[in-house]
Symmetry: C2
Subunit: 354 residues, 2 copies
DNA sequence: CGGCCGGGTTCCAACGTTGTACTCAACCCA
DNA sequence: TGGGTTGAGTACAACGTTGGAACCCGGCCG
């Protein structure tokens, strides 16, 4: 509103506004916060002074005084995965509705970064945290019965022990979802299935805990149809990016040309697989069907459009943030565990072979 | 490191650590900050006390005392665009290297949100801001000669007036880049070009200021080749998402079947256009060539792989953040304006027609 | 007409941290 | 031996805000 840029070096404080309006600091504070017991006339005068000085409260001081900042930390592995950037946007939107601000971190660099997020960093900041522990889940469950800050975990296991008293858990049933995807391929008549997404075993667990679970689901579904999971090819991939999928597809074409259906660990891999099959002249879905996981925004625009497991991102973001907000707001009840719904979106890549 | 969860309601303060170690608060502070003049023995004792209590400094207090928080605000239109989530990740990475934290905002909801980011929100927070004003650029340039906080703008115009004294500008030469893309199509022999990305005129300017500029570049290139830009079809799109591109492609096929090259406002549109052409049985690149803009991570995996203008995101993120860090660190020099480099990545979608 | 009530406001302290000024001891060279 | 320097540590105030106690004043009831 002010047209004249402040010439002062330091931004205006409550004090400055108070002096200008001829009232006490507290009265200004009351006006700022819409406290009811202020005479209209006073309110008007104070508001004018606020406008004139361009005053805005300083969060640091409020935070120090009141003990809460309105900031929530969100940590995802990496925004370069469409799934995570998508879900991050959902979180940001919901946070705005709740009048909170999102501090975004990415943890793809591993254990250290996860621990950092979990413990609240070198510095204490933000009122709580939402994140998906990929590497440190075991560790933190066994170590704490109360987490260092209000926490909502997004995870894939049913945790073994009890949840810490100040945490909630949004669970995504990877095993079941992946089995659904696999059953779908079986239902369309494919029998020689492969799984793309297995990770090389290593001393350090890999940043994609989902890999094992999704593969388990794949195996379970085969089992249920009387197929020995041990016979299904599952080429190892170094990571879960498109390139890895493409490479895996090339490999499958060379070593297992009989494969007629591919279940992928995520959509990125699946898109890479589609490209790889194209490179080798294999037709999808006529010769090979492909199903992904995440329902990333690319899926409907792939060629052919990609069938995929679609976790309900809006649900996840909304629920996680709401539960965290309740914790921050003082909710002291028992830890909650909710399983997020998912559905299989069928598109062209798994149409019945003709 | 501590195995026993803190039972105290309030987190440990400097004071608690100091008492436990039998030194003054300031000495603890010195240890925390690696101040040199502390006896090794004392340092050890203090460190032990820190470990035992699980102390972490509280950012709010540090911020209040020192006037800086180590947080920078980054605002992008929306993470659902691959380009922006990609660039956001670059920012986050660079910020970590500089030991800063990113507060992420999205401004796709328009003017209000942009103003909010620009002025520093309802609350003053963060040491500075990086963002791309789409709607309010004019407004803020005419209004301020000094911005309310250290600011780095990412933009597309050469601003008319002088830059405010405490801002820097990273410029992306949309006109030139778009002309490059267009010239490329012309060089491969296409003559009946169309532009997909024009926005409906409206009283309120639209969230994609780039639209006009990229279209201008398109026109300039045509002009240089002796083609009247007025004759080139440019169907309007409601937004810059894939769906809009698909719809535009359908329209072009129906009304301008002679078109043999399409320049798109961004990759999302281009991917939609590829899908739309596929829907109508038009072959790319044999019958129609398509070029995008942004070099989103999808481009190389599209079918056919998509040629695209690739702005140097690493350069942009690094430079913008470094300049902001300098400003925050006290740099008082004149405003700087840097043009970010771009290149055209040629892939299958613009291979010469055979 | 005095005491009470409560709306409107002021005053004060405290949140946790760090910069400045200060103290005290040990050490060094003239 | 003494003045000055350096190293190690302490005490205190201040950053901007808000909750609570205290205060003032006009109106109402007894």
């Amino acid at each position: 509103m002010t047209t004249e840029p402040s010439r002062r070096r330091r931004p205006p404080r409550l004090r400055d506004v108070a002096d200008l309006a001829g009232v006490s600091m507290k009265t200004v504070s009351n006006v700022v916060h819409g406290h009811p017991h202020v005479r209209p006339e006073t309110r008007r005068r104070v508001q004018a002074a606020i406008d004139e000085t361009g005053y805005r409260p300083q969060l640091a001081a409020q935070h120090l005084r009141t003990g809460s900042s309105g900031i929530v930390t969100l940590a995802v592995p990496s925004l370069t995965f469409g799934y995570f950037s998508d879900i991050a946007q959902h979180f940001i939107d919901r946070a705005r509705e709740l009048d909170r601000t999102v501090l975004l971190h990415t943890t793809s660099d591993g254990r250290e970064q996860e621990l950092e997020v979990f413990t609240g960093f070198k510095r204490r900041l933000g009122d709580g945290v939402i994140f998906n522990p990929l590497l440190i889940e075991e560790e933190i469950f066994s170590r704490y019965e109360e987490f260092p800050q209000p926490t909502v975990l997004i995870g894939e296991h049913v945790p073994d022990g009890a949840l810490p008293r100040n945490a909630d858990y949004v669970r995504i049933d990877n095993v079941r979802a992946s089995a659904d995807a696999t059953s779908h391929l079986l239902a369309t008549g494919r029998r020689r299935l492969a799984f793309v997404g297995a990770l090389p075993p290593g001393p350090a667990p890999h940043p994609h805990g989902s890999a094992a679970l999704r593969m388990t689901g794949f195996g379970q579904a085969l089992d249920r149809h009387g197929i020995d999971p041990g016979t299904a090819p599952a080429p190892e991939v170094a990571n879960w990016h498109r390139t890895d999928g493409r490479r895996a597809a090339h490999l499958l074409c060379a070593e297992h040309p009989e494969v007629d259906g591919i279940v992928c660990g995520n959509d990125e891999l699946a898109l890479g697989v589609l490209a790889g099959l194209r490179d080798r002249g294999r037709r999808v879905p006529q010769e090979v069907a492909v199903v992904g996981y995440d329902d990333s925004p690319d899926a409907p625009f792939a060629y052919p459009s990609l069938s995929s497991i679609s976790p309900d991102k809006t649900f996840i973001a909304r629920l996680a943030l709401d539960m965290l907000a309740e914790r921050i707001g003082g909710y002291e009840g028992p830890p909650r565990m909710v399983t997020a719904p998912h559905q299989l979106i069928v598109r062209d890549s798994t149409a019945a072979a003709d």
